[in-house]
Assembly symmetry: D2
Homo-oligomer: 394 residues x 4
């Protein structure tokens, strides 16, 4: 019961609009809870569904004023831009199926609206580069919600690697297993399964795009390693499915480290089994998303230690992402909200022309998003190749 | 990634004022996060600190209008009552040290303001009964934030007992161990340690009042058993401390069940180690607060099962308290927010003159608070007694 | 895969005879496996069953010579004493139901045969004192198989307390829960359930005698604390049963430490859930029998450590009880064999007139057995008393 | 405390001689403990070390008669063959460094002595085929101590796959991580590290041969799948080391299943972290060697179950490998002894011209050994290849 600061020092809430997140969506409500938890962002507008009436109804349920539950994202963009500057949305949150990320993000960025976009960023590297160009021109702030790096103990792990506590990283094993797509759920009217297994809406990859990209981001963020080459074996186990639902990938990193990435959505019974093991010359780490308040640490000098969220010995970056005392479990939403806290802090600093401490309040941005798109593309390319290694130029 | 409803169906947010929760406080920020997560309650006023300037500053940090960061709770009560009915606070949230619970709750309840009060409710049964009288007269809704019963898997455990799945409960073991008071932290300027070890502000008990009462509420809520008699051994291990920091208690329940309760704040290294074991004629359960998304279940017919939050086989009460898919950990704040969701739903229903489904959206109320006060009193009485058993008349 | 010595330095095996352990027995086979694992004791004779033919058949199955599968323990004692000194048994292993421990142990001890006896030692303190007198006169070595103290990590825990690493012990919680007697198994022809629930064969206590005494021995061995007073609540939950099947006990130790002991055989689904928590001024420990290769340690200075069997930093006492490298799990039999290794080392040293290192090769002896009998008696006395505390004079 | 049979029905012990296992060896003592635990095999001879005096000394320490501690394995073979048939060794146990497996096994097999050989069987497939030829001619029984398949819960897992409870296996992940070779231990005089990193004594592979082959055997035994092709990335992380100390391997099985195998001996802090995950169309399994009494099971119909050793619902194969009641942990030696129990049962049956129940008392034999050698060869071949997939013809 040691007091801590919940990072509540705000005098004005940022005004956000949401694209997607209507009835039947999963991730929209998650983003809304995450924003609410920050106390720094207020949802004031939305184009929640492709159907105008359903979008409006969602807006009303969420307590928005009636005219700001828009019939389409284009309508929202247009109408909001006509509002006085101190009323219009300052950021857009894009939580649609993947295929809409690109047009929506590009349009809002072009209009000078800051962007938070779900992952994977877009379908292709070509789109990603176009988006980079637009963002560079408009100068908007751009966040991508690789939410798992919002966990305090992930940030602690990253700091332990960065500070040299693990020595040189030699081997990395990352696993992301789910079981929810082990059967033909997409044929049973499940909306989530529907779009995620549909190449038009999901992109060139299935499990690799949906969860493999989280695994890539997690391992890259924690280790700071750059992929050099990969060898991927993608499989579609469920009959009739167009995209992969399982991936086994060998990883080679610049500098000589090696790794293994396994991602699967046919792993019966697994809920959200994302885990990371990092082995260095001076120590090792292990972290499991389903037990996120713990970080296992083995120094070379011997013994096993369990570092827990909220402990005084943690790094400033981990402390800054912590909102409750040790032993009071933080979870998925708390971690997700840290991405938004980082984004809100950066945006507020920019609006107030202040310097922003990117070290302790980091959030994944456009470059992480572009790297993720490339990873997905290269994985699919590797799986189709007869060559052993597919280079990942970065 | 199965979609679920986050219970977001609200068209108007309830207006809340807070008493306590200023700089250095722990639980105030928790309540604010929990309220924010519901999306149903808006904090619009507060008397956050005994110092007027600090109260006002906290209000401003939280984005409140300047005049609603009050110099005292008395000032807040008076000023808010003068506001138009559609602007004034509808509920007060009391997060002060324990000794202020009684006067503040009584005053706001008398004025017709609904109350959410932290635990333990008040210092004495006499106060508790006076409060009950006031609440009965004024008719306000009264919640007590025994937050651990907000966890979905605790609600699942309760339903499994209620439905007879465990048969008759025979033995209950509840443990609540923390280590943060293993040294004289109260002498080092720690604000939390200061008031919690001070009889004037904390009441007649230390560890028993602070965490033992949570343990009592947890076991009673889950098992539905009524205490018949207790035999308590209270100890003050840290020199110079005025209140107990450790408790070992034998429990006898009406109907013949037996139990053990151990609570300690000198258990070095333990963060928030609250756990419950329930053994019935037909099965057993075990739950740990630090791993709250799991419930261990052993049916008499054999085998061990791990039931996880978000699973389709859970009871409606557990489902209603769930906001994320399985495998996406919910934590302390999510559970805490369920108490507020229940209170908000009940209050909204009352304001809209609708029937409220108390089964699936329950929250602990005045009677649970009164029971907790009696438990604390009886524990202290037992510890001082030369008799073996102290009756707990209920 | 670091080599270690399995303590194999023996040139001659000790000759043992067994009383009990015939068909349907559980613990006899355990003792035989434990002895075999030491490589230091050879079973050469036995009175395995009350039925002569069954005893002989068991002897033959075990590869004994035909004439040394005796019809009764009296016959074994008589016949073995007539054998040449270099052939007759040097120790007797008593694995009968409890009521036979006393007459068998007394007779063999009187005859100068060294004794290993299962726990609880005997039925009454009067018997225990008579046995002590006999052993003092005859000078035989006497071991009692409180096997759980044979685990290396229990010995490590003991050393950590003894060395002051935990400071002064303040609070101890020991739990021993099983579920196998949750129903009337004794009515279904189960031989183990039959004698353990029968006062004539089991003694004055049920769960307390069978497993509570293990819990008492474990906590006393690890902490070195002496019981001052207890307050016990014993229950017989299963209808028709003559002895307790559940116990909840408050403990007070000389010097001011407090504790809780809960033992139950009606804890549905629990297999052999023996655990110990020790909280000191400088650190805490936790150990679980079902995960015996780990010892959790929390130093006051912060953090949680998992100490594992086979680690180089462990104490000599723990190292001496370790036979496999870390990560290669040792289990129940390995721990049990450590009791026999200790006994064999002590007996061999005595036979060879050498000094014996009791520190690293300890085994529980007559005094531990007598203490256990007194604990059982005092628990039953306390449960029947109207007084709060029952003194445990030691 | 439910009684069980320890499989003790033997009237005569088999006579064994050991090659290797002298001072400084690890695995020799393990084999001796495992044999002792069976109660069915007696060690009567040995050529424990290349130095005659040390071999003799070891024999004496182990209680062997002086003349049967031989100066060399050749001397043992010759001398034992000259003993009367009812005194000479019936089986030889080979626990030398790998390079001696082939000549020793061949010589004893040719002489009609049954063989138990440690893994990996031999250095090359050519040797393996030669050995197969010799064994076929001489007709001796041949066991290879892939000891991890001796765990009851591994046998349970195998039966669950075989019975169709998991449906068709789709994905397998096997991990075997150790940290003991993370530094240049072989330069510090560590005998184990010395020979295992020496190509002359260890063979063409390091980690792959030492532990990767265990992983291959475990996954093949449990799933019954046959490898079709592999893609291996082998690394030598520790400078100056001649053999791999890390392996990451993609697996393709006949019939379409996929897999990942990671083996490492530079995983700092990991003791003996062997684990297996099996995902089928109807359910999943997970097992960890460091927690070997549990098997996690997720049926497609929902929920997680923990199956524990000793439970009544387990398969006959698992029951037959179980020697203690549930909750009384069995460990590494108990599992290892099951290999010997199976071998002893088969050999006794053969000597007594009885039929042997291979289903419940299986042990890994020559074919498993040959398969392991081929796996090691193919892994090294794959790692050196520029082709993506290396076929594993079986």
């Amino acid at each position: 019961c040691i007091p801590n600061s919940a990072g509540e020092a705000m005098t004005r809430r940022l005004r956000a609009g949401m694209v997607g997140g209507g009835p039947g969506a999963f991730i929209g409500a998650v983003h809304r809870q995450a924003m609410a938890l920050t106390g720094q962002i207020e949802l004031v507008a939305g184009a929640f569904a492709s159907d105008a009436a359903r979008s409006r109804a969602t807006g009303q349920e969420l307590g928005l004023s009636a005219q700001r539950g828009y019939a389409s994202w284009e309508a929202m963009l247009e109408a909001e831009q006509r509002l006085p500057e101190d009323q219009r949305i300052e950021l857009v949150v894009i939580v649609t199926p993947n295929h809409l990320h690109f047009p929506v993000a590009r349009a809002f960025a072009q209009a000078g609206v800051h962007v938070v976009c779900d992952k994977p960023l877009v379908h292709t590297t070509a789109q990603a580069q176009e988006l980079r160009r637009v963002v560079q021109v408009s100068g908007v702030l751009f966040g991508v919600t690789y939410n798992y790096t919002g966990y305090p103990m992930v940030r602690q792990a990253r700091e332990m690697v960065r500070s040299g506590q693990l020595g040189d990283v030699r081997k990395v094993v990352v696993q992301y297993h789910q079981g929810w797509l082990a059967t033909q759920l997409e044929r049973e009217g499940n909306k989530q399964a529907g779009w995620r297994t549909d190449p038009v809406r999901s992109g060139v990859a299935g499990a690799v795009g949906d969860i493999g990209s989280h695994a890539e981001n997690l391992l890259t963020t924690v280790t700071g390693l750059a992929l050099e080459a990969i060898c991927a074996d993608l499989t579609t186990f469920v009959p009739g499915r167009a995209l992969d639902d399982d991936a086994s990938i060998l990883l080679r990193f610049k500098g000589g480290a090696k790794g293994v990435l396994t991602a699967s959505q046919i792993a019966v019974g697994q809920e959200n089994d994302l885990s990371l093991q990092v082995y260095g010359t001076q120590g090792s780490l292990s972290w499991r998303q389903e037990d996120p308040n713990c970080l296992l640490y083995w120094p070379l000098s011997g013994g096993q230690q369990i570092w827990t969220r909220g402990s005084p010995q943690l790094s400033p970056a981990a402390q800054a992402a912590t909102h409750l005392p040790a032993g009071h479990p933080e979870g998925f939403i708390d971690a997700f909200s840290n991405i938004y806290r980082g984004f809100a802090a950066a945006l507020t600093a920019r609006l107030e022309r202040r310097v922003f401490d990117a070290e302790t309040m980091a959030f994944p941005g456009l470059e992480e998003g572009i790297r993720g798109v490339r990873f997905i593309e290269k994985t699919v390319q590797s799986a189709r190749s007869t060559e052993r290694w597919t280079q990942v130029d970065q």
